[in-house]
C-alpha cells in the first residue's frame, strides 16, 4: 500500500485536469479565415492528421502525467518493498513473542534465541529516520533507536505470560497509529496454534517463524487440591497432564517439605495423589514431571489451607441444615463444638438464618447491631427470585427471603451471593447472614447438589474469613477479595484495592492480605495452552490476519522492511517528471516543426 508523508499535497491533484481544460478552452470558436487553397490544407491534414492527432493526445497525456508526477512527488509517496535493501522513513513494530513456549528447545537451541537473533538483524536495518518499537509479552511498547532496541532485545528473556497473538497484533497496530510514517509489524514467533486468534489488522504484517517442528511436549495442566481447608490428616491432589505427546508422564507431588509422592499419569488424563498429614496453615503443593524440551510447564504449584474442621452447634430441628451438618460430621468435615453457631447468631462465628417467626426479627437485628454487624434483616421480599451465578452455589430458586439491608446506605460490604440482584448471603467478620431459611419452602437450595459443599464452605471457610483460594496465569486479571489490601510473593508486595483486579507478573504462590491477616492465596501457573507447541498452519494464519506474509528466520532481515519498509517514490517521480518535461518540449517543438 502506498503511503504519503505529506498527504495534504494530494489536494492539488485536480490540477491534473488543467491541460485538458486549457485544451478544451483553446478549441472554442476559432475565427474564420477565407483561404482559396483549402484543398491543399485538406490534403495536408489528411496526410498528417492521424499522426498529429496522436501527437496532440500524447502531448495532453504527457502534460497531465507531468502534473500528476509533480503533485505525487510533493506528497512524498512511498511504496512497500519486496526486498528492503534501503527504505524510506518507516514505522515498524517488532513484536517479539517471548511467551513461555519460546523457551522450548528445538535442535539444541532455544526458540527465543533464534527469534532474538532475527530481531537484532531486523533492527540493524533500521535507520535514525525510522520509528521503531519493540513489543514483548509484557505489553510495553518500547520505542528507541535501532541500537538501543537491539540492546533491549538482548535483555529479553522468556516470559511467563501467555501471548494471544491476535490481541498483541491489535496492540501493535495501535502503537503504529501514533506515527504518521507508513508502517508495518514484524511478528517473530513460533506461532503456536493455541496462541493465535483473529485480528482485524490493516497494516502489513510479516511473520518470522523458525523452521523445524517443535518437540512433542507434555505439561502439567492443573493441580486440584479439592475442598478447602484440608484437615491436618491430609487430603488428595489431582494432577492433570496436557500436551502433544501421548506417552504417560511420571509425576511427583510434594506437599511442603514432605517426601514426594510419585505416579504415572496418562497423557491427557489425570492422577490422584494422597498427601498428608499436614500442619495447619497455608501449605504449598508442587507437582513436577520429568523434564523435556519445554521446561516451563514441567512444574505447577497449588495453595491449600490446612486447618482443623469447624466445631459447630446446630439445631436438630432445623431439618435440612441439620441433615447437612450430620453428613459433614460423618465425613469429618465438621465436629461438635462451640466455635460456630449454625442457624442462629451465637457468641462467636455464626451462620445466621432468618427466624421462622417474623416477630423475632427485631430482636435478631438488635443483636446483630450489638455485634457491630453492618447488616440487618429487612422486610420480606415477596417476589420470587433466582440466585446469581457465583463461586459458591449455582442458580437456585429463591421463593421467600428477607431483604438484607446494610446499615449505612450505599455501603454493602461482604456480599457473597445475590438473588434477584439483591444481597442474599453476606459476610461480616465471622458472621454469615443468609436471607432465606435453608428450607424448600424458602429456597430450592437444600434440594440441590451444591447444598452440602455450600454448607461446608460456609462453616469451614467463609465464616472463618478465608474466602479466597484463587488461580490464574501470569498477566491474568484476578479479582481479589473485598477486604484485600496487599498481595505478597516471596517478599515482593503489591498494594491492592479490595475487589479490584490484580495481575500477577510471574508464576508462584501469592498471598492475599487484609491488613496483617492472610485472607487468601493465588496459585499462579503457566497457562496450560502454552504446553501445546504445535504451530498454526500458514493458511490458517493468513485467514486470521489479512495480508500476512510468512518468512523464515533467514529471510527476516530482508523482509522486515518489506512489510513496514517503504521505498521513497519521490526521487523516481521527480525523474519521471523531468523525463515527461523533456518529452513535452520535444513533442511541442516537433508539432510546430513537422506537423
Amino acid at each position: 500500500m502506498i503511503g504519503f508523508l505529506t498527504p495534504w499535497a494530494l489536494a492539488a491533484l485536480p490540477l491534473a485536469a488543467l491541460p485538458l481544460l486549457l485544451h478544451l478552452i483553446q478549441r472554442r470558436d476559432p475565427p474564420t479565415v477565407e483561404f482559396p487553397a483549402v484543398r491543399y490544407l485538406v490534403q495536408v491534414t489528411q496526410e498528417h492528421h492521424r499522426r498529429l492527432k496522436l501527437r496532440h493526445w500524447l502531448l495532453l497525456l504527457v502534460r497531465t502525467l507531468l502534473v500528476l508526477a509533480l503533485v505525487f512527488a510533493a506528497a512524498g509517496p512511498s511504496a512497500p518493498l519486496t526486498e528492503a535493501v534501503s527504505h524510506a522513513p518507516s514505522a515498524l513494530v517488532v513484536l517479539l513473542d517471548n511467551s513461555p513456549s519460546s523457551s522450548a528447545v528445538v535442535q539444541g537451541t532455544r526458540r527465543l534465541t533464534d527469534l532474538k537473533g532475527a530481531a537484532r538483524r531486523i533492527l540493524a536495518r533500521g535507520t535514525p529516520a525510522d520509528a521503531l518499537w519493540l513489543l514483548t509479552a509484557d505489553g510495553v511498547a518500547r520505542r528507541g533507536a535501532p541500537d538501543a532496541l537491539g540492546r533491549a532485545v538482548d535483555s529479553v528473556e522468556a516470559s511467563s505470560r501467555r501471548m494471544d497473538l491476535g490481541e498483541y497484533l491489535v496492540l501493535a497496530e495501535q502503537v503504529l497509529a501514533t506515527d504518521a510514517r507508513p508502517g508495518g509489524i514484524v511478528l517473530l514467533s513460533d506461532a503456536q496454534a493455541s496462541a493465535v486468534s483473529a485480528a482485524p489488522i490493516r497494516v502489513p504484517v510479516v511473520l518470522v517463524r523458525p523452521a523445524g517442528e517443535p518437540p512433542a511436549n507434555q505439561g502439567i495442566a492443573r493441580v486440584d487440591a479439592g475442598s478447602q481447608p484440608w484437615t491436618p490428616e491430609g487430603g488428595s491432589v489431582t494432577v492433570s497432564i496436557t500436551g502433544d505427546s501421548g506417552a504417560p508422564a511420571p509425576v511427583s507431588v510434594v506437599l511442603a517439605n514432605r517426601p514426594p509422592r510419585q505416579a504415572l499419569v496418562p497423557a491427557g488424563g489425570s492422577g490422584s495423589f494422597t498427601l498428608g498429614p499436614a500442619f495447619p496453615g497455608w501449605q504449598r503443593v508442587q507437582a513436577s514431571k520429568a523434564a523435556d524440551e519445554f521446561r516451563g510447564d514441567d512444574d505447577r504449584v497449588a495453595l491449600l489451607r490446612v486447618a482443623p474442621v469447624a466445631a459447630a452447634t446446630w439445631d436438630p430441628a432445623d431439618r435440612y441444615l441439620a441433615a447437612a451438618a450430620d453428613v459433614l460430621l460423618a465425613s469429618g468435615r465438621l465436629r461438635w463444638g462451640s466455635d460456630l453457631a449454625l442457624g442462629v447468631l451465637g457468641r462467636g462465628a455464626s451462620v445466621v438464618l432468618p427466624p421462622e417467626d417474623p416477630a423475632q426479627l427485631g430482636a435478631l437485628n438488635r443483636a446483630l447491631e450489638r455485634r457491630g454487624i453492618p447488616w440487618r434483616y429487612g422486610a420480606p421480599a415477596l417476589a420470587p427470585a433466582v440466585s446469581d451465578s457465583n463461586a459458591f452455589v449455582g442458580r437456585v430458586a429463591v421463593t421467600r427471603r428477607h431483604a438484607l439491608v446494610p446499615l449505612r446506605a450505599g455501603q454493602a460490604p461482604g456480599v457473597v451471593v445475590t438473588a434477584g440482584g439483591q444481597p442474599w448471603i453476606v459476610r461480616s467478620g465471622d458472621v454469615v447472614l443468609i436471607g432465606s431459611r435453608l428450607d424448600p419452602a424458602w429456597t430450592g437450595l437444600p434440594l440441590t447438589a451444591g447444598f452440602l459443599p455450600l454448607v461446608d464452605a460456609l462453616v469451614n471457610r467463609v465464616a472463618r474469613g478465608e474466602v479466597a483460594l484463587l488461580e490464574g496465569a501470569p498477566g491474568d486479571a484476578i479479582q481479589v477479595p473485598d477486604l484485600a489490601t496487599e498481595v505478597v510473593l516471596e517478599g515482593r508486595r503489591w498494594p491492592v484495592e479490595g475487589g479490584a483486579a490484580f495481575r500477577p507478573p510471574d508464576t508462584g504462590v501469592y498471598f492475599v492480605l487484609a491488613g496483617r491477616d492472610t485472607i487468601g492465596g493465588i496459585s499462579v501457573n503457566l497457562d496450560p495452552r502454552e504446553s501445546r507447541l504445535a504451530p498454526a498452519e500458514p493458511g490458517a494464519l493468513r485467514s486470521l490476519w489479512k495480508g500476512l506474509r510468512v518468512v523464515s528466520l533467514g529471510d527476516a532481515a530482508g523482509a522486515a522492511f518489506a512489510g513496514a519498509g517503504h521505498a521513497s517514490l519521490q526521487g523516481p517521480l521527480l525523474w519521471l517528471a523531468l523525463l515527461l518535461g523533456l518529452m513535452e518540449v520535444g513533442l511541442a517543438s516537433g508539432l510546430g516543426r513537422s506537423a
Partner: protein, 306 residues
C-alpha cells in the same frame, strides 16, 4: 539609327501593385510591353514571308532589309514591311476568373490574382498582336463567361482591353468546358495560354489540356499564386474556408505551416511534371512578380525551357 526613348515608365520591372496604381490597363500594358521589348534588344520572333500584308513602325531589332526605304523617303519615318506569314500563329488566352482568383492575402501589398491575370494577359496579347499573331480570349469560372475569337487586327487590341477590363470574379472553377471551347476557336495549330490559380480539378483540366496538345496546339500553363498561398499564416487557430465551395478546416497554422509548404511545393512540382510529360510549358508565377519578369519567363525563353 537608334530607337527613340520610351515615353512610359518601366512598368515591366516595378512591383505589380505599384504599377497597377500608376496606370490604367492599357497604359500599363503598353508600358510593360515597351519596357519588356526594349530589354530584349530585338524582336522575340521573326519569320517574314513573301506576301506583303501591311506596314508597321520600325522597332529596334528589326532587320534593316525589311525597312521600306520608299516610305521613309515619303514620310521621313521608318516602317518595316509585314508579311502574311507572320499571322500564321493563332493564340488563345484562357483566363480563369473564378472566385478564388479574386483573393489576395494582403490587399495593400499585392494584386489579386485576377487583377494580375488581367494585366498579364493584356501584355501577352499586346506582344502577340505586335508580332502579327492572331490573339483571342476566353474567360471562365464554372462556365465560359467571355469569348473573343483570335484576330490580328490592330483594333482587336482595343476589344481585348475592353473585355479583359470588364472581367469580374465569378463562382466556382471548371476549366474543361473553356479548354474544349478552344478547340472550336483554333482550327489550325496555335498557342493556348492558360492563366489560372489551378485550384480546380487537376485530372479534368489536364485531360483537356492534353487534348489540346494532342490537336497540335502549343500549350502554356501560367500558374498564378498569391504569396500568401505559398506560406500558411494567420491567427493561432482558425477555420480556413474555401471562398468557392465554403468548405473549411480548423487548424493551427503554426502546427501545419511546414507540411503545407511541402504540399504546395509538391503541387507545383506535380503540375510542372505533368505539363512537361505532356509537352506543355508550365510557369509558376506569384502575384508579386513584376510583369516584365513574368513576360520574360513566358516569352523570351527558348521553347522547351521553363
Amino acid at each position: 539609327m537608334s530607337a527613340s526613348p520610351s515615353p512610359l515608365p518601366r512598368f515591366d520591372l516595378i512591383d505589380p501593385r505599384e504599377a497597377a496604381s500608376l496606370a490604367g490597363l492599357e497604359l500599363l500594358t503598353e508600358g510593360v510591353v515597351e519596357g519588356f521589348l526594349a530589354g530584349l534588344h530585338r524582336s522575340p520572333r521573326r519569320g517574314f514571308s513573301v506576301e506583303f500584308a501591311e506596314h508597321r513602325m520600325y522597332q529596334p531589332g528589326d532587320e534593316l532589309r525589311y525597312v521600306d526605304w520608299k516610305l521613309l523617303g515619303r514620310k521621313d519615318r521608318l516602317y518595316v514591311k509585314q508579311y502574311e506569314e507572320e499571322t500564321n500563329l493563332r493564340a488563345m488566352l484562357v483566363v480563369d476568373i473564378s472566385r478564388s482568383m479574386a483573393w489576395t492575402g494582403a490587399p495593400e501589398k499585392t494584386l489579386a490574382k485576377l487583377a494580375y491575370a488581367q494585366r498579364l494577359a493584356a501584355a501577352l496579347a499586346l506582344v502577340l498582336l505586335r508580332q502579327r499573331d492572331a490573339t483571342g480570349l476566353i474567360a471562365f469560372d464554372d462556365a465560359v463567361r467571355a469569348v473573343l475569337p483570335a484576330r490580328v487586327r490592330r483594333t482587336h487590341w482595343n476589344q481585348l482591353l475592353v473585355t479583359l477590363g470588364g472581367l469580374t470574379p465569378g463562382a466556382g472553377t471548371a476549366a474543361e468546358p473553356a479548354l474544349r471551347r478552344v478547340v472550336g476557336l483554333l482550327r489550325r495549330r496555335g498557342l493556348v495560354i492558360f492563366i489560372s490559380d489551378l485550384l480546380l480539378e487537376q485530372d479534368l483540366a489536364m485531360r483537356a489540356l492534353k487534348f489540346l496538345r494532342h490537336r497540335g496546339h502549343q500549350v502554356m500553363v501560367l500558374h498564378l499564386m498569391d504569396p500568401a498561398e505559398m506560406e500558411l499564416g494567420g491567427p493561432a487557430e482558425a477555420r480556413f474556408e474555401d471562398p468557392e465551395t465554403r468548405d473549411g478546416v480548423i487548424l493551427r497554422p503554426k502546427d501545419w505551416a511546414e507540411a503545407y509548404r511541402e504540399t504546395v511545393t509538391g503541387v507545383v512540382s506535380a503540375w510542372r511534371r505533368a505539363c512537361r510529360t505532356s509537352g506543355m510549358h508550365y510557369h509558376h508565377i506569384t502575384t508579386d512578380t513584376p510583369f516584365g519578369l513574368a513576360l520574360r519567363r513566358v516569352i523570351a525563353r527558348p521553347a522547351g525551357v521553363q
